[in-house]
Symmetry: C2
Subunit: 191 residues, 2 copies
DNA sequence: ATTTTGTATTAGACCGGTCGTCTACAAAAG
DNA sequence: CTTTTGTAGACGACCGGTCTAATACAAAAT
């Protein structure tokens, strides 16, 4: 049962940290929304940092499943897989009134300079994300579906970084213009 | 003397919050590095939030001076003003080993969902930044120095958002590839 | 059926730090 | 001399992450 409890705590932690950030969420809040007694925390995790790192990996893993469901969907052309992914994300952000954004992005700015372990895992997970996009772009270039001659690795890095930038601007301005602009620009980059 | 003390506190606050984030910096740390007693702090600021908002405005103001020194420099063509600005920023980030990034970007992700007052001022200051770039781009388009037919407002938004995204990736990966990629891409956007 | 053993789980205390208030005092201005 | 402006830091109430000692409980042994 230990593992299911851990996963439940991680799920709750993901939600809370997405909304409020790592430093702004206390163990108390995590544990009582997860309905786990306070004393148990250090039975499941060796520290709050350990917990945070596991939340990051957990969130990344969940996200990768979503990415794959789009980017490896053989029913669509590679270019459309990517664009429909972003279109759907944008719709979600509009529904939730431009909150949360990306936990990896949020933690990248909040934690990378403070704890190397965070920078390391964040960089690693972002690289995994980028690789998924890169493979899809490469596939599109090979088949002629994506005409751009720029290296797939660079296009994928630009897409990911620009997307994080758009989410940042979205969170501050609480509107969708940055997202719409990103999408329009992404369409050009994949042409 | 009121103004010099306030500015000193804001300067120290800017430094600390740039490096560690808002929630990860306590009043105690601010006060003892600024060598100002607590009693003075609450004489000048009505709360930590008030302090944070003023730090954001202070940082933005300082940044705008730097922007203007590049973007309104009549000795260079508009396109070169923009590119040299980013080139110089990149050099600085490489020197300081890819830390800190942009206080406005950092606070945008950390604070926007938690306190509306932060989202408001952050959005406002980011808009001011964008307007400076927009004016320079417009000037370049009018003179033919920047051939792109895309609206200056959109180009400037893309540049700013993509720049913040590049800084985010830089902080996590602790290397300059995201910055170099951004610059290369910016050169294309201004062609 | 009862006791023993060993592990899974939790209660609760700990200490340090959080922000903010308040009172006393010094310095400067009028 | 009085009032304003700013300094000084103790204090309170609370919350942070952490840890140890105690419990709950299941399986094994008697």
């Amino acid at each position: 049962m230990k593992n299911t409890t851990i996963n439940h705590i991680l799920e709750v932690g993901t939600q809370l940290i997405s909304k409020k950030g790592f430093h702004n969420v206390g163990l108390q809040e995590v544990l009582q929304t997860a309905k786990v007694p306070k004393g148990s925390f250090y039975y499941y995790f060796k520290s709050k940092d350990d917990f945070g790192l596991q939340v990051i990996r957990y969130y990344s893993e969940q996200s990768i499943k979503i990415f794959a469901s789009y980017l490896q969907n053989q029913a669509l052309a590679p270019r459309d897989r990517i664009l429909s992914f972003f279109q759907d994300r944008i719709a979600i952000y509009k529904e939730q009134e431009f909150t949360e954004g990306c936990l990896l992005g949020n933690c990248s700015l909040e934690m990378s300079d403070i704890k190397v372990a965070f920078a390391d895992t964040l960089a690693q997970e972002l690289d995994r994300w980028q690789a998924l996009f890169e493979a899809c772009i490469q596939e599109g270039q090979d088949s002629g579906n994506i005409p751009s001659k720029k290296e797939a690795g660079r296009i994928s890095a630009l897409l990911l970084n620009n997307w994080e930038g758009a989410l940042l601007r979205m969170k501050a301005s609480k509107d969708g213009t940055a997202l719409d602009l990103f999408l329009e620009h992404a369409e050009e980059q994949l042409s």
